[in-house]
Symmetry: none
Subunit: 225 residues, 4 copies
DNA sequence: TCATAAGCGAGACGGTACGTCTGGTCTTTCA
DNA sequence: TGAAAGACCAGACGTACCGTCTCGCTTATGA
């Protein structure tokens, strides 16, 4: 579904002093990189996307706001989308650090339906968080049209969250609450994708009641019993 | 799923000489509008998006290719996305005219599962159609970020198709193949949205086997029986 | 000097219903021409040049202000300068009609110096008249660069005035106040051109004292010895 | 008369690497300015004015011909006229450098009339020089209508030449060939302005014979009695 | 320890496209 | 059939950014 929890994954120490760049940046000496500039660029990028929107956010604008030369951006990133993607990942990491790991885990009370409903409700809340909305939409939109960025977006932002859903479903399967033989990656899409689509494409409202219904329909199917 | 068949709906003659503009263009005298220019602009826009991609498609480029003054575009449309949306709608209408009405209907053989699988398979095929891919992605991406356009996109492109799915589900419900009390608009998202998301966000492959599975899971649920 | 008196010439009945166009306009039937539109165009042109200056005066602006279609201007004139030239000539004619013929004549009191000083002083006053300044400068400037218009400008606006100066000098010559053999057309330039240049090119102030001095210097040169 | 010799003045080395701009351009860092671009722009501007005329010379055209971005022109100049003025001044300077200083001085043989006739004859020749004609007329015309540019035009192009004439007249005055008390700045206009007007306004031919006559008429007026 | 070479802020540069404005032409509708 | 209206093709306007390219100036080793 729609990247509920940016990088809620365990993240085995991405070493902030030398984080692997999102896409391979070749030449410069990363050891001498200015962390001050980097953080300023992240903040400027997120702020501008929030204030004026993604299309009106420009590299020049980010550089000016960050008090940085344009070349410093072009040296380390290949595009506006690339900057924003890293800035957003960085934001997610910082929020996670402040929140604690398990805050983003899917609970396992033994009641799959309740656990999934709870998790989807908090996803809905997150999608409404104004800090996330603008950059997240921007990145999603860019990913629709730019497959390379889209795949990075999915791998870095969506995948960890989806994996948690799959894990929870596996536990349910082992507990006999989900049929054997079900493809869990497809199964989770039954409730995750509809929410994602409503959010991405404005095809309808996304409320707690809606996600509750999704979980019910998905878990029990549409057929009469 | 995602706008399989642009305007496959019955369309009770929208009078091609005076089609309601997608977004209200107030000022100029529509009666004096040059249809030659309009068609040339549609063709140029679709061709350019296909050839160089949406971001490198420019209004100047469209005007030049269409042999039209820039002002003629700005007079009638408010943005590149707006032009492309109308061009795409027009393309859909022209294809529908050539195909015949029932080509886009969802069959009703009495077997919901089979009918939905058949329809989703053809949706998959359509999503691979190179004439649609580029402009359709571009519009979807724009709609993610631009709510106004997004809503028009949904209303004009997605909605007619979604309505057909809802209708087929209603027939199934009346035939006792779908539980009473189910919200059909939500129900159809169980199989339509996952395909949409895989296509939009490159979260996974979209094959006939995949959509068949979706229909099965959605109709029967995940729970053991 | 510089077109002091626009068309103070006798003007043998320019028949307002069919006045010969300044420069040959070929095709249309002048007999059916709308005098209302013509006058409105004249007024709009002069007003706009006065208000926003010549470069920002546009044919579209004139047409809009005159409540006239653009084609009505293009039908009867070949350029913006052409419109303004005729408008200015028309203005001159109307002012002359209100003033009476002899108002613009050069007096002959028997004292050439006094008569010329008087005339040049009133020329200076005229050059400062805000109704004339803007359009007159605009036409002069256009004439510098556009020889065809320049010659028309000279013939219609400057020549009549220059001829009066030549006439007055001839009378002085016959009265023995100017040397025999002097080329009167050159002679008059001695006092007329310096004023013209100061006004046109901002090479210096143009005051009554200045023109008085010019007449003195020049007449001394022309006097018999 | 009108700007015979652009900047024939002594010019004590204006340091070509940092020449004072004609009109103060405040903002950008002049030290980093590209001299290559600057010269290319000068040449393109002069060439275009010569080839297609001033009104059809566009900033885009100059930029394209000079192989320069438009912004590079807008960065350093405020208008087309401004570019041309500096280009023309630069041309004058380069020609002066190739010609040697005294080539433009007014000779002093002791015979004022002869010296002035000689100088005016060479001014006439210069006015016919096709390298000067087009840009010079264009600038003069612009200056008629744009007082700010006009004053710069006079100060940078006309004034040096006029000063030489005044100097020569002063020498004549000291030699007793010109009356005491004569205002030399006005005196020189007696022969300079008529030529200027004939050239500017096409009021008549400008020949060597004509300027000889002017000098005769004027000097008679200025002679002691 | 200090040169030396990188990253850095700054911003000029050659470009492209923007959205607007006007020039001239052409067409429609009316009187 | 002249005129008002205004859509049309064309293309220049002046602005905004793009991505590249110097400039000095830190600044952090490594000889």
């Amino acid at each position: 579904m729609a990247a509920q929890k940016p990088t809620r994954s365990p993240r085995p120490a991405p070493a902030p002093a030398a984080p692997a760049p999102a896409a391979g940046k070749p030449h410069p000496d990363a050891a001498r990189r200015s962390q001050r500039s980097r953080q300023a660029i992240y903040e400027a990028a997120l702020a501008l996307v929030g204030e004026v929107g993604y299309p009106k956010t420009t590299i020049e604008g980010i550089a000016a706001r960050a008090g940085v030369g344009k070349q410093t951006i072009y040296r380390w990133w290949s595009s506006k989308a690339d900057v924003l993607l890293e800035a957003f990942l960085d934001l997610g990491e910082r929020l996670v650090e402040n929140a604690g790991e398990e805050a983003y885990a899917i609970p396992d009370t033994g009641d799959v339906a309740a656990d999934l409903k709870f998790t989807l409700r908090s996803t809905v809340d997150e999608l409404r968080d104004p800090r996330f909305e603008a950059p997240y939409r921007a990145l999603a939109a860019e990913g629709v049209v730019n497959e390379q960025l889209g795949r990075t977006f999915v791998a870095r932002l969506l995948e960890p969250s989806l994996q948690l859903h799959a894990d929870r479903l596996r536990a349910a399967q082992e507990a006999g609450q989900v049929r054997q033989g079900i493809d869990l990656r497809i199964a989770l899409e039954l409730f995750v994708s509809p929410l994602a689509q409503r959010w991405l494409q404005h095809t309808g409202p996304y409320t707690h009641a809606y996600t509750d219904t999704l979980v019910d329909y998905a878990l029990h199917g549409l057929a009469p019993r």
